[in-house]
């Protein structure tokens, strides 16, 4: 297709797009004046029904807990796919022999300053991640955010120049189990709702008093399960990607 024809087609499509967008924008409520019924209802009821102070977490782990189950397994399936593909590419059988020969393997880009900052970051990241996972129902955060922050902890070890130390702290077996157990626990918590109160994912635990660590029924449990899964999933993906480039090649 020649350039003038392509440009002509773009002009027609672009003009149509602009018309549709303008029509859409003129129909929007003015800035700061959108009052959705759903949002208003959730804001009014969820703190009283479930004693949660962070309504977004309440949405994810209570009102739409079933949606979150789907999201859990989207992540689980995609991480499984990435692992399968990359291990196939690398040839999993050769890895064990290769790994023995590279004891001093290091990330050569690590300067002393970067090493120092990374070492300070490790405990901060772990503490922050755990805080986000366990306080999901109280303050912004929750299983997903906390899980990714937790997974970033071992990445700080890589930045400190020790890739194999990172793999010793978080071996693949551990990451795979964490990913799978987290996903399974989330599904099983839902099943507990089905058994004890007759509806899948319905809350069946005492609510506690609002603002306390152990409150809001099943939300802390759900958040922990998601945190476990997300931390394992992200770190496993990163490890697979890094294995492609850090293992079996001269450092540099």
């Amino acid at each position: 297709m020649s350039r003038p024809v392509r440009l002509g087609m773009f002009a027609v499509a672009g003009a149509g797009m602009i018309v549709v967008l303008l029509l859409g924008f003129t129909g929007l409520p003015s800035f700061g004046h959108a009052h959705e019924l759903y949002g208003a209802l959730v804001n009014r009821t969820e703190d009283k029904l479930r004693h949660a102070t962070d309504i977004v977490t309440a949405l994810n782990f209570d009102i739409r807990a079933f949606d979150t189950l789907g999201e859990e397994f989207i992540l689980f399936a995609s991480v499984t796919g990435v692992s399968l593909l990359l291990r196939q590419l690398r040839g999993e059988k050769e890895e064990d022999q290769e790994q023995e020969g590279i004891e001093e393997h290091a990330f050569a880009g690590a300067s002393d300053g970067l090493k120092l900052v990374s070492l300070i970051l490790i405990p901060v990241l772990v503490a922050e991640g755990a805080y986000l996972v366990f306080h999901g129902q109280l303050t912004p955060g929750g299983g997903f955010q906390g899980g990714v922050v937790l997974a970033a902890g071992p990445i700080a070890i890589l930045l400190a120049g020790r890739y194999l130390a990172m793999k010793a702290v978080a071996p693949k077996v551990l990451l795979e189990s964490s990913d799978a157990i987290g996903a399974a626990c989330y599904a099983l918590i839902g099943l507990a709702g089905l058994i004890f109160v007759g509806t899948y994912m319905k809350n069946m635990m005492p609510l506690g008093s609002p603002g306390h660590l152990l409150s809001a029924g099943m939300m802390p449990l759900n958040s922990t399960a998601v945190g476990l899964e997300v931390a394992g999933a992200f770190l496993l993906t990163w490890t697979e990607f890094l294995d492609q480039t850090m293992i079996g090649e001269p450092s540099g």
Binding site: F31, P140, I155, F241
Partner: protein, 90 residues
């Protein structure tokens, strides 16, 4: 609309355009990280701290690790190709 919200919107607009315009992938990864911080700021000043947290962890750690690992792999393969070509020439 507050001044902070206006600043956040402009930062996201400029940042997003910058990510597209940077030609070199390594620099692009860095600019993408900065754009992620702009988006985080935007979500925060529009009162969505949960989304801001997700954005900062994904754009700050999640994407860069994968992109940088992939770029390093590509560079290693390019070096190997060059070495093979040199050896063939000799």
């Amino acid at each position: 609309m507050t001044v902070l919200q206006l600043i956040a919107l402009v930062a996201v607009m400029v940042g997003g355009t910058a990510v597209v315009l940077v030609p070199e992938p390594l620099r692009q990864a860095m600019v993408l990280g900065i754009f992620g911080f702009a988006l985080t700021f935007l979500f925060f000043v529009f009162q969505a701290p949960d989304v801001a947290l997700s954005e900062i962890v994904v754009s700050g750690v999640g994407i860069p690790v994968i992109v940088l690992a992939a770029l390093r792999k590509i560079r290693q393969q390019e070096h190997e190709h060059e070495r093979e070509e040199q050896e063939d020439g000799q």
